[in-house]
């Protein structure tokens, strides 16, 4: 049991060691920050559910090197975005740009949320309406209550 746990911990450590990028040095902390934030924005084309920072694919290594070189050459996020999109398409971005093609992707969830909220709202209103229809109107129930009270009084008096 203990041994299995240890093996699991060691294995998870190994995964981290494998995933670690080669440490790269930059001229300024801003460049280093840009580098690390960008690696999380781009998808590895080879193992598509990993970003460039996580992936061990050799393509990811090449792209990391390319991004580092571009940052060192003074290029910003926009230049690097364009470089990658020109080669791999929007798919390389985890956050695709808003366009006619991706509109459903971006707006869809909000539309669904609004439709769902509207549905809930309509349902609640209907239920309230039905509940008030079932209970008698106020005056009528008062009338009934008064009559019953009078009947009780009469019974008591007798």
């Amino acid at each position: 049991m203990l041994r299995a746990g240890l093996v699991a911990i060691l294995l998870s450590l190994m995964v981290h060691v494998w995933a670690a990028e080669v440490t790269v040095s930059f001229d300024t902390p801003e460049q280093s920050e840009l580098y690390h934030s960008l690696l999380k924005e781009y998808r590895c084309l080879k193992c598509q559910n990993q970003n460039l920072s996580d992936s061990n694919a050799s393509l990811a290594g090449d792209l990391r090197r390319e991004i580092r070189d571009q940052i060192l050459a003074g290029n910003g996020k926009r230049d690097i975005d364009q470089y990658l999109i020109a080669r791999y398409g929007d798919f390389v971005l985890y956050r695709p740009p808003f366009s006619a093609k991706t509109a459903v992707l971006w707006i869809g969830p909000f539309v669904l949320l609004i439709v769902a909220l509207a549905g809930v709202f309509v349902m609640i209103r209907r239920q309230r309406l039905r509940a008030s229809e079932k209970s008698l109107p106020v005056e009528e129930s008062d009338e009934l209550f008064r009559r019953k009270l009078e009947k009780a009084k009469r019974l008591l008096e007798d």
């Binding site: 084309l45 080879k46 050799s58 393509l59 090449d62 999109i85 080669r87 791999y88 398409g89 798919f91």
Partner: protein, 184 residues
Amino acid sequence: MNIALKLLPLALFVAIAAFLAKGLSLDPTQLPSPLIDKPAPEFTVARLGREPGDPSDGDFISQDMLGQVWVLNVWASWCGPCIAEHPYLVSLAQQRPIPVVGLNYKDEPGDAQQWLARYGDPFAHVLDDRDGDVGLDWGVYGVPETFVIDQSGRVRYKHVGPVDEVGLTQKLIPIIDQLQKETS
């Protein structure tokens, strides 16, 4: 409760099922190339077995291919599916008189030469891209990949993964034939 409301869950189910069915039929490894109908990235690269700048045969310059339809196949000796694909490339080179250019991607030149000696060499030019720089510019993300480039130097078709019988007879050859008709 009206009938429309009663049918709503069924409609939702059908809609979700339709989306999921579509998702199942898509292959996530097949990415549309942004290069299609764009000018092919230009490059100059050493031929396999030669050092860059070796004057004996000259470096391969992609611009030299202008004016003809040609095929760029990205392969490597470490790539298993390339072996399965290879007979179809040999067949393509025999069936159509166009240059099939082999880009040897991130490979050891010695391994690549042995590989070609073993499986046959259908390539008009074999190029040494051992660092994968050319592959990077062409947006290569999985080997093998096959591009068809037209007379004006634009990429017209990209096949990701090994070319098979269907890919050769129903895609590559018809596209090549059509492109060759375009100017003549």
